[in-house]
């Protein structure tokens, strides 16, 4: 125990210990009887109960329309749960205000299947966007962006435009953009969907490496063959329900 902590009064130490225990014990994502119904009446997620601790690599699998994307949208506040409980990084996503959601998004990297790069802007401008949103000055951005691009092997493409890059390189730029703000969690919605097997494996290598460094990765995918080379926790959804979870090694539906 550090000297600073030792000099705290007993109640202070107790409080500190409780907070520390809670931060360790609480999963990064906690879902309890989670339900999402769109205004059209379609139920996208129904009765999902799931805990994801910090640092896990979670694959969300299931057929199209199973609710993978809806579940991921809820994780970054894109849609609010209709009922149940969803805690993400300590925030209750049903009650979180706009400021809280914004704060959460700043600590979350998002990767899309179509990578959603801005084609009128350079690779630098694309990758710098999350930090720019956080108020970083241009001079500080350049070394950070260069470092991140070097990590995904694109250091020499800093001033290129995305249209000059291949599909795999574009997805690597999207990964760089997602990791540039050093997020605690990366949500990837079928990031390998449009890539050939080798390129997809390389993209997954980067995500696995980030996961090893402590980042939680939640990735929706149809490419089940990737699970052999890059193992992780597999959560399977069907018609909005959780039907399998390799973490608990048994079906975990609440219906």
């Amino acid at each position: 125990m550090s000297r600073a902590v030792r000099v705290l009064p007993v109640t202070g130490r107790l409080l500190l210990a409780t907070v520390w225990r809670m931060s360790v014990a609480l999963p990064q994502i906690h879902m309890q009887q989670l339900m999402l119904r769109y205004p059209t009446g379609k139920t996208a997620i129904s009765g999902v109960t799931l805990d994801i601790p910090q640092g896990q690599f979670v694959y969300l699998v299931g057929e199209s329309g199973a609710g993978k994307s809806s579940l991921m949208r809820m994780l970054y506040g894109g849609v609010r749960p209709s009922s149940g409980r969803l805690m993400v990084q300590g925030s209750d996503m049903r009650r979180a205000g706009d400021a809280k959601v914004r704060e959460l998004r700043r600590h979350t990297g998002i990767i899309f299947q179509d990578h959603r790069l801005l084609f009128a802007r350079t690779v630098f401008e694309n990758v710098a966007l999350p930090l720019r949103v956080q108020g970083w000055k241009t001079e500080r951005l350049v070394p950070r962006v260069r470092k991140v691009l070097a990590y995904v092997g694109l250091a020499d493409r800093l001033w290129s435009y995305p249209e000059a890059l291949s599909g795999g390189e574009q997805q690597r730029v999207a990964i760089a953009r997602a990791m540039t703000a050093n997020p605690a969690m990366i949500i990837a919605d079928e990031p390998t969907g449009n890539l050939d097997i080798d390129t997809a494996r390389r993209v997954l290598d980067y995500l696995t490496d980030l996961n090893r460094q402590g980042t939680t990765i939640i990735m929706a995918t149809h490419d089940l063959h990737l699970l052999e080379s890059h193992p992780g926790r597999v959560v399977e959804l069907h018609a909005g329900r959780l039907i399998a979870d390799s973490y608990s090694a048994q079906p975990k539906s609440d219906t």
């Binding site: 970054y76 894109g78 849609v79 609010r80 959601v101 914004r102 704060e103 959460l104 998004r105 700043r106 998002i110 959603r116 801005l118 802007r121 350079t122 630098f124 401008e125 710098a128 966007l129 999350p130 720019r132 949103v133 956080q134 108020g135 241009t138 001079e139 500080r140 951005l141 350049v142 070394p143 260069r146 001033w159 703000a181």
Partner: protein
């Protein structure tokens, strides 16, 4: 060779190639200007120029009216047929009792006849005969022609004595009323044109916003605050409006020069410099208003993204 391509920056800081000018979105960074923006500047400039012309005209009209309004005299005529000396004196006295009349002068018939001769360009009429036919004339000098019931009071007194008031002179003396009404109209026209300009800028920015919808959506997904997303568009609206305002002001100068000789003959000196700040800040204001309208729509349609 490579070194020459870089800006000199602080030691330890990464360098940005000279040919690269990072255009990072959001915050106080202005988006790039394109054809749409140029067209909006031209249209708003024309509208602001029209507003400038209206207010320059108001300035000239107000100076012109002010130049002769103080010298206006009102004349009251009494028919000499059947008018005795007592009625004439009573009329003069009653007119003099009106508070806003500084003085009442009975114009001698000879003076009136002389003036008539001059007005008729020395028609060689018999002055004596003319003087006998002219009405008894009182000349009223006014101390406050803007008083609300002054001319009604004069008319009442004149009618009671069977006299007539020169209504053309009353009309000229009341020119400040016309100017005041024209002033309201000028404000109304300016307001309508300002609304039109705000809508034009709003529409231009709406196109820009649609073109950058992906960028805005991404910034929101990354946790950007609303002001951060909106600020570039509000700045763009302000710059468009202010730029159009300055251009409109510059385009007013040829009009001032062309009409300069004409105005000088009427002893009118219009000051175009007075319009610079109103056009500059007015343009920026309508631009900001248009941007707020445009971004409000986007915020509403993207809520929950």
């Amino acid at each position: 060779m490579k070194q020459r391509l870089f800006h000199k920056r602080e030691p330890g800081r990464e360098q940005i190639p000279e040919q690269m000018n990072p255009r990072l979105p959001g915050g106080f960074h202005l988006p790039p200007f394109g054809v749409h923006q140029l067209l909006a500047v031209i249209i708003v400039c024309i509208a602001l120029w029209a507003i400038g012309v209206i207010w320059l005209s108001m300035q000239a009209a107000s100076q012109w009216v002010g130049s002769w309004q103080d010298d206006i005299r009102i004349h009251v005529y009494l028919d000499p047929q059947g008018a005795d000396k007592g009625r004439e004196t009573a009329l003069k006295q009653q007119l003099a009792e009106i508070d806003q009349i500084a003085s009442v002068r009975r114009i001698p018939p000879e003076e009136a006849a002389r003036w008539m001769q001059q007005w008729l360009k020395d028609a060689a009429l018999s002055e004596h005969e003319l003087a006998a036919r002219l009405p008894i004339t009182f000349e009223l000098t006014l101390s406050d022609q803007e008083s609300e019931f002054l001319f009604d009071d004069i008319r009442d007194v004149a009618e009671a004595a069977g006299a007539q008031v020169n209504e053309d002179e009353v009309g000229l003396a009341q020119a400040h009323h016309w100017i005041a009404q024209a002033d309201y109209l000028a404000w109304f026209a300016s307001l309508i044109l300002a609304l039109a300009m705000a809508l034009i800028i709003s529409n231009t920015l709406r196109m820009t916003l649609l073109a950058r919808a992906d960028e805005i959506h991404l910034m929101r997904l990354m946790g950007a605050k609303e002001w951060f997303v909106r600020m570039p568009f509000i700045l763009e609206g302000m710059v468009l409006g202010a730029g159009a305002g300055v251009a409109a002001w510059l385009l007013l100068w040829p009009m001032v020069w062309v009409t300069g000789g004409w105005f000088a003959a009427m002893e009118i000196d219009v000051n175009n410099w007075l319009l610079l700040l109103p056009l500059l800040f007015g343009g920026a204001l309508v631009g900001a208003l248009g941007a707020l309208v445009a971004t409000a729509n986007v915020v509403a349609s993207e809520a929950g993204s």
